[in-house]
């Protein structure tokens, strides 16, 4: 027979192993459901099929494309190759401006129209989200 100490240790290791496995399992499961992919307007144009999941689209707010009425803000996100129309009800961050970088989170209705639920802009006048920067590389 194994000694008490060895048994205890084996028990402990088993416990740690099981709880680690449980943690990883739960995290992976939650990840699958809650990941939001980031795309540029061009990537959306080339999508083979529309996903019903929430996505993020990044680019620049096209010059003189913002149109406001009582409840909605409509504007166009561009990566200077392709455009995407966005409609949004809600509040925008203070660096939301024409000609500046923007990230819109929402649901695609078709390949050129996004119904946004959240608008993000970064809090630095020169800052551009890395994604936007990448999407814009060589296109300006």
């Amino acid at each position: 027979m194994y000694g008490k100490k060895v048994k205890l240790r084996a028990f402990f290791i088993l416990l740690i192993f099981l709880s680690t496995a449980l943690t990883i399992f739960l995290i992976i499961k939650a990840l699958e459901e809650n990941v939001v992919y980031f795309k540029s307007p061009t990537e959306i144009k080339n999508l083979s099929e529309l996903d019903s999941k929430k996505i993020r689209v990044g680019g620049m707010v096209k010059k003189s494309s913002i149109k406001t009425n009582d409840t909605e803000i409509n504007f166009v996100i561009t990566d200077f190759k392709n455009d995407l129309l966005v409609s949004f009800k809600g509040s925008v961050p203070n660096l939301f401006e024409e000609g500046k970088g923007v990230v819109a989170e929402g649901f695609l209705k078709d390949r050129s129209y996004l119904k946004a639920v959240k608008i993000l802009a970064k809090h630095d006048e020169n800052y551009m989200p890395p994604e936007v920067n990448e999407a814009l590389k060589g296109k300006k």
């Binding site: 709880s19 943690t23 990840l31 990941v35 939001v36 406001t68 925008v92």
Partner: protein, 623 residues
Amino acid sequence: MSNQIGNYSLYIALFSSFFLLFHSSYSIRNKSKSLDSKIFSALSVQTFMVLISFFSLIYAFVVSDFSNVTVYNNSHTTKPLFYKISGSWGNHEGSLLLWLLVLTIFLFIFFISSKNLSNKYRIITVLFQELIIIGFLLFILFTSNPFLNLFPIPKEGTGLNPILQDPALAIHPPILYIGYVGTSIIFSSSLAALVCGMVNKIWAQHIKKWIITSWIFLTIGILLGSIWAYYELGWGGFWFWDPVENVSLMPWFCLTALLHTIIVLEKRNIYQSWTIILSIATFSLSMGGTFLVRSGILNSIHTFANDPSRGIFILCFLFLLVLLAIFIFFIFQKKLFKNLVKPLLVSKETAIIVNNWFMMFFLSVVLIGTVYPIFLEVISGSKISIGPPFYQKLMIPFLVPFLLFMALGPKLKWIKDNLGKVNLNQIIPFILSIVISYLIVKLFGISYLFILPLFAVGFFLLFSTIKDFFSKNSSLPQKISHFAFSLFILSILFNGIFAKEFSSNMKVGDERKFINKVIKFENLKIIEKDNYKSLMASFKISDEKRSINLNPEVRVYNQPRTLTSEAAINSTIYSDNFLVFNVIKDDGYYNVRYQYKPLMMWIWFSIILLSVGGILSYLKKND
């Protein structure tokens, strides 16, 4: 002039670091006992030099010495004096200098306050700490020197990002850094204790003070950051699960686990290896946090520096340190005196292990949520983000047993306790809390799955901690902190469930109805200030009983030209009324967001109370 002084004093500090490094390893080898004075003077020189260099940077900022590149990039003559000073650590170079300053001061305090402990232990701690200091000194001097000269000298600086010009954010970095850097002392001294074979009660008593200190500062630092985000970023929330926020939360989980484990080590002399592992992990997470924030890898609102070479340096340095720590751990781990731990007995030490398990679970969730997007992008190139639902989904179900254990654990005795007794004592508050939460859920028609049990355990923790205040069997700091945590959870719950939000685009003079309230945009005026122009709006929110005026602003700063919006917040002990507006375009429409947030003050208050528990525990005499 201040540039040269600052620069040279850093070199002197580096020199004294090397001296300390060689001298301490020499004196360990020779087992000499009377070398205190030399080490003491070298430490004093080093601390003094770093202090001088820090003050010369502040001086350069105060007099707007634009021959200094850092000042030029981050300051402006029209900036108020307070923000000139805080601007000196509001940037990459200055903030690292602050890190270094806290590192050296802490080591100095450690050295003079540990006189009753063995010389060998103190010297080895100095040795490890000096390794970290050298790393930071080299990093500052060669990749991010705050004292670089600029020629020709410009007339005017480019200014500090206006969003950082804020009292809460001015003191947020120093406080947070004291918390972060405090973990370096824990790291060094736990390795030293391991090498000296003195991971025992005496050491636990000594290092507990450092753990509590770091914990208090880290807690308050996180609180300040989230208060700032609440009123400055205009989203009306206090926690966004933004990667940079997560990075400060990870060491907090680890430190909280350590805070509990060290008590077991102090009282029962068990869990030695686990304590050491936690110490190493806490420090690695603090350093890793600095790396992630400073490298610009994280996609976050706080990314200031975007120079990857800086990030790589910290990463390699951290990697070496952790490798060294693990190496030392495996060599000296055998020296640890092993007390047989009986698991699964109903006892305080088991309860603390349960606490640690939950802390490690929350930590893994946040760690993976933060790091996974980075890895995925490196591996597959697809860009993703992980939002609040991920964290909520994983954390909320686990909060229920966590809070339950938090209420029951402290009542248990050391070594072995009886379960039957505990149950009987707790039945009244337990039933009471279930009834109350059931009423709340029924009355307001809430249909979320986990709200009822979460309310129930929240109230249970609240009641049983209140009840504990009348009994004498556990310590006061513990009661206060656990009580504060129950307040925290309950306020968050109420806040999250009963918050109401309204947003619309309005012109001056417009009126909107929202539930039982009327929101009126009364007028808009322009005010000229020293370094910004302000658009001040006036809103009136009225319901049947009363009406309040809110005056949010949009500020147009001239240096650098930036728009910021200042939320108008009307706080009472019951609720906050939060209103923020934004300019969309020059067509008369303003984007308005109004939020009603119940018990907002209580969230801040409960965190302050939580740290008060920590402060009391620090002041408490060892018994």
